[in-house]
Amino acid sequence: MKIVVCVKYVPDATADRGFNEDGTTDRESVDSLLSELDEYAIEQALQIVESGVEAEITYLTVGPDDATDALRKALAMGGDNAVHVNDDDIQGTDALGTSLILAKAIEANGYDLVICGMASTDGGMGVVPAMLAERLGVPQVTYLDEVKVEGGVVKGRREGDTATEQVEASLPAVISVTDRTGEARFPSFKGIMAARKKPLESKDLDDLGIDSDEVGLSAAWSTVDAATARPARTKGEVVTDEGEGGVQLATFLAAKKFI
């Protein structure tokens, strides 16, 4: 079978991130890397193969030139090959447009199972997996904490606030996995060396039969109008215990609706 893992090259979440004047992500002033949340998707794909399922793993990203770094890192962890969709006209594309590009690239590659992270660490919308399933016309099983592939079916566990669901879908399907699926492995040096020799294919919009009018900032359904920097952290409230400390703490927590 064929597994496609969608990965995103994002500005480092620990750096001081910002936007360009047109509201698009500023990629110049901070380093970018493979989204940490997508590492969980990669790990699950590798574990599916290690569990005995015969599958070819393809990583797919849509991004600028150096987004290949994200693909090389993924390939260093394991897997077989990668596809990089890169086109100047893609800049400024929103989630809806991204899902179109991904869907076309996935169809061109062929797939039985598409695995996504639960959200990106930059946009953080978490909508792409659902949009992707809709575009591909296949079932979606999102926010899985546990994944298993058995006999043409993908099964998983989804923890909600009030219930734990056991969900499954027949393949082909799109799933997204959470950061509770288990820590992703670190690549070994052998893996890093091997990754350099694994096929990495670059495609543009023409290759995928996408009109440039369908994507980019001008076609976006959602745009960033304004952004305000997060306010600096303020000093916390200090409770001095003069016999009433416990009550004061409880009152504070209740006021903030923690209890």
Binding site: A76, F186, F189, K190
Partner: protein
């Protein structure tokens, strides 16, 4: 042309080990250190990452990398913690390397795959209570019992890293095996598997630093191992460990560089956060200049160990460069650790702060794998002066 850039795979390795050190080692190592406990889960994970096999070929379970790769991993680990770094250094360059360099094909097949995977640790028994760098003073003896075809080993080794863990599989021991024709004592290296009767591991030392690493005194009392456990050629023990130590110096230099850089990392952070008299202490020139000097030493350290490693990897003579790197970086590490502690003030004297660990871990770098005095002796000799 001189190129300061790392190859892509070395840079990716550096980033990977950096991430591992920050995310996995940093949060837990202080606790192991306090308890003087060996961090088995960390070692296991380092094994999975292939760190123990870095400079060895794939046919023996290695990663097909080189000594530069090992140095890069050591530097990034030591930037966060030296106990895990020295565990890796000793396992690879002292434990597995002698077997790879001098072992028979059979010995390599038997030991290297497990050593490369990190499932098993090897140790190197050279130093004795009465002699370290003066290897000619070796008192441990090994007599070949012709009747049984066994070496009979007697003697004591001290300060031996990785020699008493649950996963230690062997110790290579230097011993006097006779007298050569010109009357000199003949030294050979012999593999002693853990658990061999007559081989006793003393309880761990109480050390000033490196407290999450494993160090023991070893004693051998009529300890018998098969004649084929001889490593390499009989009588070549002295030349063998000189070769091992030359390379090991580069590894220690990389480790010292990591510690020196870790001091900069922690101090820059602290100097920006800690306020005194209404401004961050880093705004004071006295502190800012300290930091500048520390960064300079860390940077120079990196250049010097990488230069020595580059010569080694390219098959050029590197003895002099290795001694210079070991001497410079270890002194830089001690200087940086002292200044980092000073910048941290009272907190720098508290064990829960990383710089306190750095301070305690730095001194040994001027001692292990040849003291600073021995390095100066070697460098002077390289210049054709001195004894």
């Amino acid at each position: 042309m001189l190129d300061h850039r790392l190859e892509e795979e070395h840079e990716l390795l550096r980033q990977t080990v950096r991430e591992f050190a920050q995310e996995v080692v940093a949060p837990v190592i202080g606790d192991y250190y306090e308890r003087h406990a060996f961090p088995y889960p960390l070692v296991q994970q380092m094994g999975k990452m292939g760190l123990f096999g870095l400079p060895f070929p794939e046919e023996y379970g290695g990663m097909g990398g080189d000594y530069l790769a090992l140095g890069i991993a050591l530097e990034e680990l030591a930037r966060v913690d030296s106990s895990v770094a020295i565990t890796l250094e000793a396992a690879v360059s002292l434990g597995a390397m002698p077997i790879y360099k001098y072992g028979t094909e059979e010995q390599k097949q038997q030991w290297l795959p497990k050593l490369c995977s990190g499932e098993m640790l090897g140790a190197f028994g050279l130093t004795e209570p009465d002699g370290g760098s003066d290897a000619g003073a070796t008192r441990t003896t090994a007599r070949l019992d012709e009747a049984t075809g066994e070496w009979v080993i007697n003697g004591t080794k001290c300060f031996i890293t990785n020699s008493g863990t649950d996963i230690t599989g062997l110790v290579t021991v230097t011993a006097v095996t006779g007298t050569s024709e010109d009357g000199k004592r003949e030294i050979s290296t012999i593999i002693v598997p853990s658990g061999t009767p007559g081989f006793t591991v003393a309880p761990g030392y109480s050390k000033v630093g490196w407290n999450a690493s494993d160090t023991h005194e070893l004693s051998f009392t009529d300890c018998r191992v098969p004649a084929e456990n001889l490593l390499g050629t009989r009588g070549r023990g002295y030349a063998q460990f000189l070769g091992i130590l030359d390379e090991g110096r580069i590894a220690i230099a990389a480790l010292a560089t990591g510690l020196a850089q870790g001091c900069v990392d922690e101090s820059v952070k602290y100097a920006g956060e800690r306020h005194a008299f209404g401004k961050p202490i880093g705004a004071n020139q006295a502190i800012a200049f300290k930091l500048a000097d520390m960064e300079m030493r860390a940077h120079m350290s990196r250049l010097t160990w990488r230069h020595a490693a580059s010569k080694l990897v390219h098959g050029e003579p590197f003895k002099q460069e290795a001694a210079i790197a070991k001497l410079y970086t270890s002194e830089a590490a001690v200087d940086n650790a002292r200044e980092a502690t000073q910048i941290h003030g009272g907190y720098g004297f508290m064990n829960e702060f990383a710089v306190a660990r750095f301070w305690r871990d730095s001194k040994i770098l001027e001692i292990g794998e040849g003291t600073s005095e021995v390095q100066r002796m070697l460098i002077a000799r390289g210049l054709g002066v001195g004894a």
